[in-house]
């Protein structure tokens, strides 16, 4: 039996439906009630199939719950296990034996384990913000260009090309930053540290740009032509229309894109692991110093801890915190987009 691709939407593929019809009619005649039931739900395996679909649909929910549960399961005992770790030491500075002031130190391996997670989160935040600083203007700028200015043929080449950047695995971007970008930046700027937050955030920006670009471009493209034409008809210049009419109209989508990019940047592991220098410094405003992110810490140190000891639990706790941060970001993103959408669609009435 041949398969007919759906090239004609006005008439359904005849072969398939003919066989459906004939098989349904030929399905035999029992008493009227079971016939109705059979006709509506089909033979037993159809109902089983529907049940299977419904059950499998819950897998995504199950997955999220399990992820949270099992990462939490490994981390939670830290609250009650008897160990030398005081929970306060995870967050607050402490004056250790050979320091002359209270400090935030992450050096978990040694005779005295020092596990303060503040430098790690600071490193993550610093690199993420820097990366967005590079990525957002470039991505939104490109999105504006591709949706508003580029002729159709250019758009059909440029859009997939930038989306191709999304297909570059993050390990390759990390490799690129480590082997090439770091040297170029050091040669150009003469920085003391070759691997630093700046280089890592540039690599990270490359990972985040396609995410922000794709969604922003779709949002900008979806702005109805009437809005743009009305603005032009009223005498606004092209640039005024773009910046003051089209961009605000696409704002929900663009906001979603940026928030998604932020989430992606926070969670990225390989780029920062290879390119940031991994030094747990407390230097919130210095982009040229090294930084150590939460994700790189987990990736590097998890292999060397034995199951169940304090270091293990702290690493899983970091995982729980990462999960919560991205979860909350996700909810915020959805809420922000919904509110912006309401505000903009209400205002247009």
């Amino acid at each position: 039996m041949s398969e007919t691709p759906a090239t004609d939407t006005s008439a359904p593929p005849p072969d398939e439906l003919r066989t459906i019809a004939s098989s349904t009619i030929a399905s035999g005649s029992d008493d009227s009630r079971s016939l109705t039931r059979r006709r509506r739900h089909g033979p037993a395996w159809h109902r089983f199939g529907e049940l299977a679909v419904r059950v499998m649909a819950l897998t995504a929910v199950l997955a999220i719950v399990l992820i949270f549960a099992f990462v939490l399961r490994e981390a939670l005992p830290i609250l009650w296990e008897d160990s030398s770790l005081h929970l306060a030491d995870l967050f607050s500075p402490r004056q250790w034996a050979d320091y002359d002031a209270p400090v935030y130190v992450w050096q978990p391996v040694g005779s005295v384990a020092k596990m303060n997670i503040v430098p790690l989160f600071l490193g993550t935040l610093k690199i993420t913000v820097l990366a967005l600083f590079f990525a957002v203007p470039l991505a939104i700028g490109s999105a504006i260009f591709v949706s508003q200015y580029a002729p159709r043929r250019v758009r059909e080449i440029v859009k997939p090309a930038i989306e191709l950047l999304a297909g570059v695995p993050s390990v390759v971007l990390g490799f690129f930053a480590l082997m090439l970008l770091a040297t170029w930046v050091q040669d150009a700027l003469g920085l003391p540290y070759r691997l630093n937050a700046l280089v890592a955030s540039m690599g990270l920006a490359l990972a985040v740009i396609p995410v922000i670009f794709t969604i922003s471009e779709d949002a900008l493209d979806a702005v109805p032509r009437q809005l743009k034409e009305a603005s032009l008809a009223l005498g606004a210049r092209e640039w005024q229309t773009t910046l003051r009419v089209v961009l605000p109209a696409a704002l929900p989508g663009i906001a979603a894109a940026v928030i998604l990019g932020f989430g992606r940047a926070i969670g990225e592991t390989m780029v920062v692991l290879m390119a940031s220098g991994n030094a747990a410094v407390m230097a919130p405003f210095d982009p040229t110093s090294s930084a150590r992110t939460v994700t790189a810490t987990i990736a590097t140190e998890l292999g060397e801890v034995s199951h169940g000891d304090t270091h293990w639990r702290v690493l899983f706790m970091l995982g729980v915190m990462l999960f919560c941060v991205t979860f909350v970001l996700n909810r915020i993103g959805v809420a922000v987009v919904a509110r912006l959408h309401r505000k903009l669609t209400a205002a247009s009435r």
């Binding site: 039996m1 398969e3 072969d15 398939e16 066989t19 459906i20 004939s22 098989s23 030929a26 250790w96 050979d98 400090v103 130190v105 050096q107 978990p108 391996v109 040694g110 005779s111 005295v112 020092k114 430098p119 040297t183 050091q186 003391p192 540290y193 070759r194 691997l195 692991l273 220098g277 991994n278 030094a279 747990a280 410094v281 407390m282 110093s289 090294s290 150590r292 590097t300 140190e301 292999g303 060397e304 801890v305 034995s306 199951h307």
Partner: protein
């Protein structure tokens, strides 16, 4: 007879899925063969070796040569740092753990509780932990005390230790590394590394970084000394000693250490054969080409 409606299902997609399922079932079927048991203390002819990055090349050489000499044995080598190897030994996922440092007491205790056997230590090579600087750095020597001050962040310019006027950039291994722990214990006397020390995953990464950084300093096994300069260290006699086979064996070089392979319990079966071979003249002959030094015959 009506046509089977299911024959209109998408054929290419179904075929692809069927092929994938077939491959999977072949793999599942191979399971019942169960020829890989992994972490037994040598009962099968498969060995897993995991741990020190310092030793991973050496372990691979050992493995390749041993497999050539004893066909039918399979040896699987991975790195990840001495800490990773020891953790794997505790967790039972490796037969042999490579370590570039001695096991600590609490680790030995964990092996005892989890694997119900005492950790057995075998010395497989001698290493000198070299201090590396950029090839353009003219620094003639360093004392251990100076080295400690540098890595604790108390000395920040090369001119303070006899070099050029240039800030010192610190490179270190990650904390899963045996070399890191060894350095912390023997050089820093358990004090912390300076917080701005850049940590890199793997000795090769450290060497690579130092070779590109005129102000850089790093440390690692002597076998990795390409593209960088090893600095002579002042030994207990008060004179600068460069890391060589002679000085490492005699102990004149202050940072010489053994490289170990640990098993849970005395090695048996394939593991025993392998370790005996490694410590024999045949195995030890492979050590120098890699860049390390053979274990002294009289057991120094």
């Amino acid at each position: 007879m009506p046509h089977d409606v299911r024959s209109s299902a998408p054929r290419p997609l179904a075929a692809a899925l069927c092929a994938a399922l077939f491959v999977t079932s072949v793999l599942v079927g191979a399971c019942s063969g169960g020829h890989r048991s992994g972490a037994s203390a040598g009962g099968s002819s498969t060995l897993t070796i995991a741990g020190s990055d310092t030793m991973v090349i050496l372990a691979q050489r050992f493995a390749e040569a041993y497999m050539r000499a004893h066909p039918g044995t399979t040896i699987q080598v991975s790195g990840g740092g001495s800490g990773t190897g020891i953790a794997a030994l505790v967790n039972g996922t490796t037969t042999i753990a490579d370590a570039s440092r001695a096991m600590k007491d609490d680790e030995k205790a964990r092996v005892r509780t989890q694997r119900h056997a005492d950790a057995h230590e075998t010395r497989v090579a001698l290493d000198a932990v070299a201090i590396y600087v950029h090839v353009s750095n003219p620094l003639p020597q360093l004392t251990i005390a100076q080295l400690a001050r540098i890595y604790r962040g108390q000395v920040t310019n090369w001119k303070d230790v006899g070099g050029a006027d240039r800030p010192i950039v610190l490179y270190s291994r990650e904390n899963n590394s045996g070399t890191y722990v060894y350095f912390k214990e023997h050089v820093l006397a358990d004090a912390d590394f300076a917080t701005h020390t850049q940590t890199l995953p793997g000795t090769a990464a450290v060497i690579n970084a130092v070779s590109r950084d005129p102000g850089g300093i790093g440390y690692g096994g002597i076998a990795f000394a390409t593209g960088v300069r090893a600095v002579a260290l002042v030994g207990s006699a008060g004179t600068p000693v460069a890391p060589t086979l002679a000085t490492a064996t005699s102990g004149a070089y202050p940072l010489s250490r053994f490289l170990f392979m640990y098993t849970a319990g005395a090695p048996a079966g394939t593991a025993k054969d392998f370790l005996d071979w490694v410590t024999s003249a045949e195995g030890q002959a492979l050590v120098e080409p890699v860049g390390y030094y053979p274990v002294p015959r009289d057991g120094a």
